[in-house]
Amino acid sequence: MSDHLPVLPLLIPLFAGLMIMLETRQRRRVRRFTGLAATVALLPVTWLLWGQASVEEYRVYQLGNWPAPFGIVLILDRLAALMLLITAILAVPVYLYACRGDDGIGVNFHALFQFLLLGVNGAFLTGDLFNLFVFFEVLLLSSYALLMHGHGPDRARAGLHYVILNLTGSAIFLFGLGLVYGATGTLNMADVGRALAAGEVLQPALFAAAISLLLVVFALKAALLPLGFWLPAAYGAASPPVAAMFAIMSKVGLYAIWRLWSLVMESGEPALAARLTPWLTALGLISMLVGSLGVLAATRLSSLASWLLLMSVGTLTVVLVQGDEAAWAAGLFYLLHSTWGVAALFLLAGLIARLRGPEADYLRSGEPLPTSIAVTFLVVAVMLVGLPPLSGFLGKVLMLATLPLPAFWVLLLAGGLASLIALSRAGSTLFWRTEPARYAQRRSAAGLRSLLMLVAVCMTLVVFASGWLAITQQVAEQLLQPDGYIEAVLPSGRAR
């Protein structure tokens, strides 16, 4: 049984999604129960997978039992296991929140949610570049439909941009894949790494072009500027649970860059890495700068959250290309914090919008909000700004301590200041500049409990900080030794 564990994060959402599709009579209770059971089932599975990955280094799962460079493999290493765990932990509260009403504004939410999980988990697990493309398409197709979940011209407009951009991105992805295959004769990531180390690349210039194209695509998915302007529009327009779930999607792009970087750059092509580093650093710094300006300019709480997400992507990119092992561990810790924290802010924005009615989550005076919401906002805001004692502070301090880069320091601190100003302005507008209630009917704050669950998860980052840090350190340590990864997939450099 435990041999087949790595494929379960794919099979569970796949079958749950299909079963929900088969339930054609729109019985909401059945759909919710199936979806919830599948989402919760991912928790123990990913936890066990992390247990395996932390002990026995790598686990290779050969689909159809075809040996590595010929068949497609799933590879469970620590990075993949950690990302799976983050996704599963994020998915449960978001799904619970969605079940408090947001799932009813369109059809097929439950099935699409499972297919999104399938795509995300698959992208984390796969060890084959073309398979990565396929899983990207799976998650993108579900995300297109989820983004359009519910109605409204804003959603149609944002959805149109999002879909066109990503379809163009897919075309570029395929061009890059074709070039990788033409230059190395393989699409298995470990085999590409091996071919690089052995100097078997036929045309290095072609390979450099291929890697650059792939980086462009991953930067588009991760929403690194200048390819990230779609993100605030799309995430701001999406319904709250969808936007919260999308918080992991930009991390998928980041994960792909990370994987490529550790496998291809560090060992195989230091010259290419040296050429690309200044570009990615500059783009990351620009994302941080524009993100902090965007946070200040945001007129809605949900778009404020999207700009925060963009800022964190920029930060993590700089850490990725400039950092050493300790910085990567700090960056991964920050990744945990920013994924869950921003998702919590998206959910909170949704709650506030529902409570305020026509004013929605626009940052202008409106109806008074209950104290419970205000306190939650305070906690989430303190966390995201990075004030002590919450997780954002820990993540930022760790990154500052491990990455002595002046521009990075300035922009990270300036970004913190900007988000402090923006979030305190947003909070004082939303909670203090209130008008007497005009609407008699009482709107419910349903979903607050699932939001609090997500906040509690973020709190574990503080309470069990040393445990989480030990985990991210293990991940970073393994990432810097791609030889083990190659050896695990292709034992003793088996001849192709």
Partner: protein, 118 residues
Amino acid sequence: MELLMALMIGVLTGCGVYLVLRQRTFPVVLGLTLLGYAVNLFLFSMGRLTLDAPAVIGAGEHYADPLPQALVLTAIVIGFATIAFMLVLALRALGDLGNDHVDGRSVGSDGEQEDQQR
């Protein structure tokens, strides 16, 4: 044949990129389709171009690389699905926004953009 393939891929990509940058949704969909064709040809040619060779090992003296053909097959299926989705989305945007501009703004007859009349 190499020259012909290269030219075709180049022309298709060029037309695709031009059409994707247009302001109405239908040319954009056409552009994405053309880009998809270009990509498929490109993937195919990355297995090297061979004449009169089956994609089966051992069936003859020469064989063509079967992997890119499998990749192209997958890419065709995925491309077809996404283009179909894109068309439906364009129709829905036409319904929701009242026009077929990619930004949802109405376009005057002389190509000048006006803000959407609500």
